[in-house]
Symmetry: C2
């Protein structure tokens, strides 16, 4: 196991009704005014906005609304929100939504405390020295953003989907009420499953140092996601399954399964970010297309781990059988496994490859993911 520092100061408030505690948590941190970030007006129709407003009012906390944050959140919106946050002198950012809203909230929080342009923090031109405190109420379990310090935003002008992370961008308190997630659409449920599995397998397959304990934790997460997804597709109201799905999602990207591993990369995310940046496909849908194609290209580099995956996740023998089982499972739950299902044709491969190569530089894996390799993987996904 490699040396590591593990530090995750986010407080998770998990369970039914916990969204009513948001005002109390903000008050405990001395917050008097927040920027309330959200996506669509769905939270106004379904009553969540009213619950949040009431909880804030009880604790005399003012808020300024910043709605309209979209999936694959965009830099222009983050910049606009930074101006709003500064102008209204908010003391914290409150995200009410899924990973896109929360990632935007983190970027806004860091951007408010940075003198230059916020994109500088994404491209390494500047370092995050401080951030407003971030709080969130999670309405979709997938990205793990509720218990980590990362945020991914797309620069629409340059078609770059890049990330920040900093000790300053851990949420102070994340409220996770699985009951709020029962209205997530069937499509987004299965995309989320693919996203959680992607978070779990990137290190599992690519790490140079991957302790068996960590592999066991990853398999616990993946097996839970597979089991609970199947339950939820039959019965979206199954709270126990919704809760296990959500908590497995949190554990997949809160540092636990990566602490002590090393030499890993995020190739599936690297490739998918190009699909999202260029074609605005849902992140999880892009991942379920990329993963089987990437696995077919990669497995010979780590055959023992792929055989382990096949056995411990799907109960089959052999690396290729395991990959086929995962692809079949993606098909079964109805998340895409082909670029054509995303509306991406062969004619669009050259531009896609070009974008992936830019990501490969950004992810520091350009030596492995050459033009030929990226082309091979993407063609395999046609």
């Amino acid at each position: 196991m490699d040396n590591f520092t593990f530090f995750n100061p986010t407080k998770i408030e998990f369970g039914t009704g916990t969204e009513q505690l948001i005002g109390q948590h903000l008050a405990e941190h001395g917050i008097r005014k927040v920027l309330l970030c959200y996506g669509s007006d769905r939270i106004k129709r379904d009553g969540l906005f009213a619950v949040v407003s009431k909880s804030l009012a009880v604790h005399d906390i003012q808020f300024v609304e910043c709605g309209g944050i979209v999936s694959n959140p965009v830099l222009s919106k983050v910049r606009e929100a930074i101006g709003l946050a500064r102008g209204s002198k908010v003391e914290a950012i409150l995200s009410v939504g899924g990973g896109s809203v929360l990632d935007s909230a983190k970027a806004i929080a860091a951007g408010v405390r940075h003198d230059g342009d916020v994109w500088d923090l994404f491209i390494g031109k500047a370092v995050i020295e401080a951030a407003l405190p971030v709080f969130d109420i999670l309405t979709l379990a997938a990205t793990g953003s509720e218990m980590n310090n990362g945020a991914v935003v797309t620069n629409e002008a340059t078609r770059e989907k890049f990330a920040i992370s900093s000790v300053h961008t851990y949420p102070k308190v994340s409220i996770v009420n699985p009951a709020l997630m029962k209205t997530v659409s069937r499509d987004y449920l299965v995309y989320s499953a693919a996203d959680i599995i992607a978070h779990s397998i990137e290190g599992y397959f690519t790490a140079a140092v991957q302790p068996r304990f960590h592999s066991r934790l990853v398999e616990a997460i993946i097996n839970t996601v597979i089991e609970t997804t199947e339950t939820l597709l039959v019965n979206p109201d199954d709270y126990a399954a919704r809760a296990e799905f959500a908590w497995a999602s949190t554990q997949a990207l809160n540092g636990l399964i990566y602490a002590g591993t090393s030499g890993y990369s995020y190739p599936n995310h690297m490739i998918e970010h190009s699909l999202s940046a260029l074609f605005n496909v849902p992140h999880g849908a892009g991942l379920s297309v990329v993963i089987p194609a990437w696995m077919k290209w990669y497995h010979g580099r780590n055959p023992a781990q792929f055989e382990r995956f096949a056995k411990n996740v799907f109960g089959v023998t052999g690396a290729e059988q395991g990959i086929a089982a995962l692809e079949s499972w993606f098909n079964k739950i109805g998340t895409p496994t082909r670029l054509s299902q995303l509306g991406i044709t062969e004619a669009e491969l050259p531009a896609t490859i070009e974008n992936v190569l830019g990501n490969a530089e950004y992810f520091g894996v350009a030596d492995i993911y050459t033009r030929d390799v990226v082309a091979t993987i993407l063609k395999g996904a046609l």
Copy 2:
């Protein structure tokens, strides 16, 4: 899954050479003077004390020594150390040792900031309102104390082995260098394995709400402990195994496997605490005696989970076969499974039962663990 709050602010600094970072971590917290707690003089002979002293000196941090903390740490020593800490105006407690030293450090830290007698905090006569910051360098992996807020201390006068926990008693920074643990004796290695397994199974078997995800995590921990213990018994210098053993130990009692479970109790610890309090047996050795006897008495209350354990840990079918497999494994690695191996005879059962009944009140399970039940379990361990 039940509602829960998860918050664990301890920073773990894990790996080789990390003990050299202690001065830096203390300095980052603005600490200028610490009470340096340790057990035997072994740390002076093996060079660790010199490394720590040097790291403190580099950062101009003074220290006052408090050595001689024993296994099953005692209240009298904690009281003495509180006086020393107050008299020398230390700003933090630094534990260099295993769980006994660290638990004492937490009790000292809370005791210094409490106006009355520190034992009041253990028996519910007073609440921990504050504590000095605690830092530690761990030299034995077993108790999980490095990433939780609990501490267990024995009152020699009353023969009570009781616990505290508080949001104020999480270590600020825990330094875990598995290489420091390679000198742990064979006996203490196997006692530690039993302790980690005990932490893992208490909730696994007794919780009324036990999600499958949590059961999977527990099995990942136990399977890792079994595998790495066997490796270390053959080759104590196997760093990779030592590291996985240590990290599994941390995960067994840092809140992860209990978050969202409910209705659980700690019957094995409850019974073992009496063995430690009365006969000063090593905690892990007491646990490996209690566990099989308790399991034989208990398994009918939760047959499905015992069958699951048998299958997923030992690959056997049936609850009783799983229990037998664990008892065999304890015998194989050389940790005791009978009271006689601890030098405890039938003549001592009445006093032991009496002490356990006191613990049952303290643990809130006196309705289940009646005199007859405790007698049955202990007789089964003769």
